[in-house]
Amino acid sequence: MAHKSDLIASDIDAYLKAHETKDMLRFITCGSVDDGKSTLIGRLLYESKMIFEDQLAALESDSKKVGTQGKDLDFALLVDGLAAEREQGITIDVAYRFFSTDQRKFIVADTPGHEQYTRNMATGASTADLAILMVDARHGILTQTRRHSYIVNLLGVKNLVLAINKMDLVDYSQERFDEIVSDYLGFADEIGIARENVLAIPLSALRGDNVIEKSESLDWYHGPTLMAHLETVPIEDDARAKPFRMPVQWVNRPDLDFRGFSGRIASGTIRPGDEIRALPSGKTSTVREIVFPSKFDQTDRMDEAVANQSVTLTLNDEIDISRGDIICGKDDPTEVANQFRATILWMDDEEMLPGRAYLMKAGARTVQATVAAPRYVRDVNSLEKLAASTLSLNDIGSCNLSLDQNIAFDAYGDNRTTGSFILIDRISNRTVAMGFLKFALRRAANIHWQSLEINEQARAEQKGQQPALLWFTGLSGSGKSTIANALEKKLFAMGRHTMLLDGDNVRHGLNRDLGFTEADRVENIRRITEVSQLMLQAGLITLVSFISPFRSERRIAREKVADGHFIEIYVDTPLAVAEERDVKGLYKKARRGELKNFTGIDSPYEAPENPEISINTVEQSADDAADRIIEHLYEFGILPRS
């Protein structure tokens, strides 16, 4: 049941006609558990007859079991969805609810209000036309009200309702109401919320005062009830009046004769014949047809398409446009840039790493973005600007960012669609931040990489990996190089950046002047250690496959590497087995005395005492050994767990 209307029973066709033309209001409710937010939403659903009998029966039984309202219905139980949340008695995510009345259809984003859920609230607010700020009449404007106001204002929500709830607990006092309203408006001025965009309503969600019906106890209030306001508030739809923008989601090419560009129009109006400009390329053309299927034949063409419609455009010229480009009106295009000032709301448990390359998705385009250390972080409670070197979960900061290519964009204040973006971590794939583009940085104002050096960490971040030195040691013929090769192939296939330094090939070049005396062996390892240092600094996972018989040299290599990044891999093959294999015929030569100082024969091999990994090549193949090493790399945190 959507709601009660006499038309349903008497004239269903008329009802459908009326419903068809209803517009939709999306709103968000901001408040914390105790403000009665869930109770309010539950009541809106209940009063608009959105609750079915079977649901009502469940509500009655739940109210008895876990309700907080004694024998009365606990409306909050209608909206607290997930089982874990119900047990804890709090809402911890964004939930969407739907209802409609004779006037409008509604989608409510129900989000938690605590500071640790700032990201959830921002997500809910990103698509909202209106925000209800819940205030407990006993407590007045609290820090959280200020925080919620700041966030919904940041997200560009224009209409605010200050719902002063629990009026029944302050004896429906007008004086108290006026006091809270005046308090709030003073604060609204401070953060730039226009007073005419705020409507304060006294109500009691629990008792139903001024939710749907005018309350007799609040007869001094002459404004609309909450529902009446939701039904009539003008939804600011200035998107059509703005310049034309359509991010291209998909290039539609069913055959050689048709080439169209599909997307949802972000703003403006388009007609066949209109001149357009594709960005960032800047190429121009005119619109041939607007394809908008309804009958799925040649008649599916429109004379005009407007903001929020999903269409396919064909052009009169063959210009190169791909997914992620923005088609604009020719004379009113977006800006194009690769360096920006932006506001970023951090949404991940792992803090932002200045200098790390993240993926940035803006419209249908995904590029690589590097964020500089924040200029400041906004304290969402005091609204002060604080110094910070990074952004942590729920931090809102002002940052400069730099992209690996140009994108077309508008300032968020001008266009919510072409001015917004998300950041994605390249390793975990999590959505780590939402962002608001402010303006492009001109050359003169290029990013100052405050306190950011291009160092080992930065280079590794760019590759999305942890550098490490994997040091294979073992007798000649033990299988070091075979395993190292197999491992490198696997790492490469996983998208890791690697380099393999092998005894044989390094000796042909860099160490061509060295023999096999003890002194030369030490020098050999010293050079390898230095070269592998450079590789590590380049951010590579470096594999070194050397007999490296002496503990002291291996220790020197280890000591040069940061803790946890040196992995000694002992390829433990008994001499008899290695000699039996004798792939290169070297043991035979050494036994015949043709090779001097051969490790294991007439030169000692000092086995590692505590290698990170020990491989028994008698029992496992090189391929299995490589798999085992990869397992260890996960354990050591060198490779990220998916």
């Binding site: 959507a2 939930a95 799925f296 794939n429 939402m434 998916s642």
Partner: protein, 283 residues
């Protein structure tokens, strides 16, 4: 839908033959027109669907020109799993939940469109439009990605997959209204007609084929009935109705006092049952 097609390798549309699937398929045709939607349709057939559903399914697939994949859990068939012999819970798990996982693994689909709506059920209200599943097809409600604006992050680890719910923000009324406005074909079972039914445990069950074992006192009789949702015929209760056209259906829907899922036998356990099923891999 365009985002999914642009960002994943092997998308598929789960086509359950019901009204939500009908709307989803219609939207797909629109999104890609004049191209044919660039993914196959897949139906997980429990072998107990209404016969009219199967006829309708085949006709729709052939009309759209899309490939239709029908997957049946053959192991379940070999074991003779069915709702009458094994009960609704086990039947649904083996022939639907497990079968779906099998099919997704078999064809290596990494994104599957589904017609679920947030207004259907409380745990759905919090599910994202792009909803990620582990290699074992599990849903982790505590670890969902935020979806601000309409920016969808479709990146995933190699063995993960995505369930995508394009109709998340539609209500049951929106679905019917859209079917009405756009003249979208739906299975005739949604319209009232004389059908052979028996009344069993408070539900009107249609005797769709000879596999239905009748109890001693049960004699199928012709009644004017229709269905609000469609699934396995033994698990789907009919309602008495005279609504033979869309306005009539919508009128009944708006005046009813029972929610849509009420006709489904599987939701009748504990109130958090859907959430539990979803964590186990139910769509």
């Amino acid at each position: 839908m365009r985002e999914v097609v642009a960002e994943v390798e092997q998308p598929v549309m789960l086509y359950s033959v019901g009204k939500d699937s009908a709307v989803m398929l219609h939207l797909a045709k629109k999104a890609f027109y004049p191209s044919v939607p660039p993914f196959p349709l897949m139906h997980v057939d429990t072998t107990w669907k209404f016969r009219e559903m199967i006829e309708f399914r085949d006709r729709m697939a052939s009309d759209t020109g899309m490939e239709l994949i029908v997957h049946i859990n053959e192991e379940g068939v070999r074991q003779g799993v069915g709702p009458f012999t094994h009960g609704s819970a086990l039947h649904t798990d083996i022939m639907k939940t497990q079968a779906l996982k099998q099919a997704l693994d078999k064809y290596r689909f990494d994104a599957a469109f589904g017609g679920a709506r947030r207004d259907e059920e409380k745990s759905r209200a919090k599910e994202r439009i792009f909803s990620f599943r582990s290699e074992q097809h599990r849903w982790d409600p505590k670890n969902q990605r935020p979806e601000p604006w309409s920016l969808y992050n479709a990146r995933k680890q190699p063995k993960e997959s995505i369930r995508v719910f394009p109709l998340s923000n539609w209500t049951e009324l929106d679905i019917w209204q859209y079917i009405y406005l756009e003249n979208i074909p739906i299975v005739p079972l949604y319209f009232a007609a004389e059908r052979p039914v028996v009344e069993r445990d408070g539900a009107l069950i249609m005797v769709d084929d000879e596999r239905m074992p009748l109890r001693d006192n049960e004699v199928p009789r012709q009644e004017m009935v229709r269905f609000r949702t469609l699934g396995c015929y033994p698990l789907t209760g009919a309602i008495r109705s005279s609504a033979t056209d869309l306005p009539g259906i919508i009128q009944e829907m708006l005046l009813t006092t029972q929610s849509e899922r009420q006709g489904r036998v599987i939701d009748h356990d504990a109130s958090a049952s859907m959430e539990k099923k979803k964590q186990e891999g139910y769509f």
